[in-house]
Structures are given as C-alpha cells and as structure tokens.
Subunit: 109 residues, 2 copies
C-alpha cells in the first residue's frame, strides 16, 4: 500500500485489531486450542499435531506471544508456552465494550 494508515486510528481500535490479527489464522487458533486443552506447559507437541513445518509453527507462536495471548519461557533446548487467560479476558471485555450499545434494538436491514 502507498501509506500505512493504521496509525491514524485510536489506540483502542489499534489494540483490538492487533489482537484480532493474532487470531486471524486457523493455525494459531489450533495452537491456542491445544494450549487451552492442556492448560499447562507443553513443548514440541504442538509441531507434531499441526500440519506445518517446525519453523512455521515457531513463527506462529512468536506472533501469539507478541500479541500477548500466550506466555513462553525458553528453557534450553525446549521451551514452554501457556495461554495468557488475562489477555483473553481483556480482549473479550474490550470487544464487548466497543459494541454493547443498544444491542437489544433491532437493526433495520
């Protein structure tokens, strides 16, 4: 694109969009699902479950971490990721807050 216009929107809009972007790929949804089901540190199991190369999974994990949706600690040759439930709750809260005006009214089209 010619210019990046994202900066011209409010911080809330940018943050929400950023978080949504992290969720905008089935691989990352699948990763989160695995993490949620375990709800404990798991390591290379994610790669074996997903139909993607190790490097690709690592990249997706990095994006989820950057977005704050998961936490991760490196522990030598293996690392450990967990869901950051607080971030999810925040996302849900912000998300609802933005749109919870007049929800009961009927749309006209």
């Amino acid at each position: 694109m010619a210019i990046n216009k994202k900066q011209s929107f409010g911080k809330k809009e940018q943050d929400l969009a950023e978080c949504a972007k992290a969720l905008a790929h089935p691989a990352r949804i699948a990763i989160l699902k695995v993490l949620a089901q375990h709800n404990k540190c798991i390591c290379g199991e994610i790669v074996s479950v997903l139909p993607l190369a190790q490097s690709t999974v690592s990249q997706h994990l990095k994006e989820l971490k950057n977005a704050g949706l998961i936490t991760g600690t490196v522990d030598g040759p293996r690392s450990c990721y967990c869901i950051n439930w607080k971030a999810f709750e925040k996302f849900n809260r912000e998300f609802s807050f933005l749109f919870n005006h007049l929800k009961t009214e009927q749309a006209c089209c």
Copy 2:
C-alpha cells in the same frame, strides 16, 4: 506462500479465523463502532468520519459484509449497513467455547 495450508485445518478453526481476520484492521473496528453507536442504517457518514478514501472504505465494508458481521442493502445511489448482532454473538460463543476448558486453573509460566 508456496501453498495455502489453511484448508488443512478444521472448519471451526477456519471460520473463527475468518471472522477474526475481518476484525483485524483498525478501520474496520472503527466502522463497526460507528454502526454500533447508530444501530441503524447509515451510509456515506462512515466515509466522512474515517481518514480514508471512499473506495477504501467501500472495500472494508465489503470485507465485513463477506464475513457476515454486517448486513447491507443497496438502495439506489445510497446503501445502508447495519451490524449483524447475531454474527457477533455467534463469534463470541464459538470463541469462548474453544477456550473454556480449565480456565480457572493457573498457567505455569
């Protein structure tokens, strides 16, 4: 990318990701916010509020409509968009459902 791997994931994951992708831009969040505040059909007002060209806004509206998050009817020289609250509720439901395992437990990292 060489190959599109999105198809190798489940339908639920794909749908959720698709919906998240529609939310993954501050302009579209801003559009939804405006629509939510009005909760009635508004037309060119969106263009005048956003810092984007008319054609760009139209494209964003199209994406939101494709994702099912808004409804739109063309009415001659002006069109009319509304939030599809049902779609939002569904998104919220699916989203929570995917991750509501063991939410109360503490993550380990």
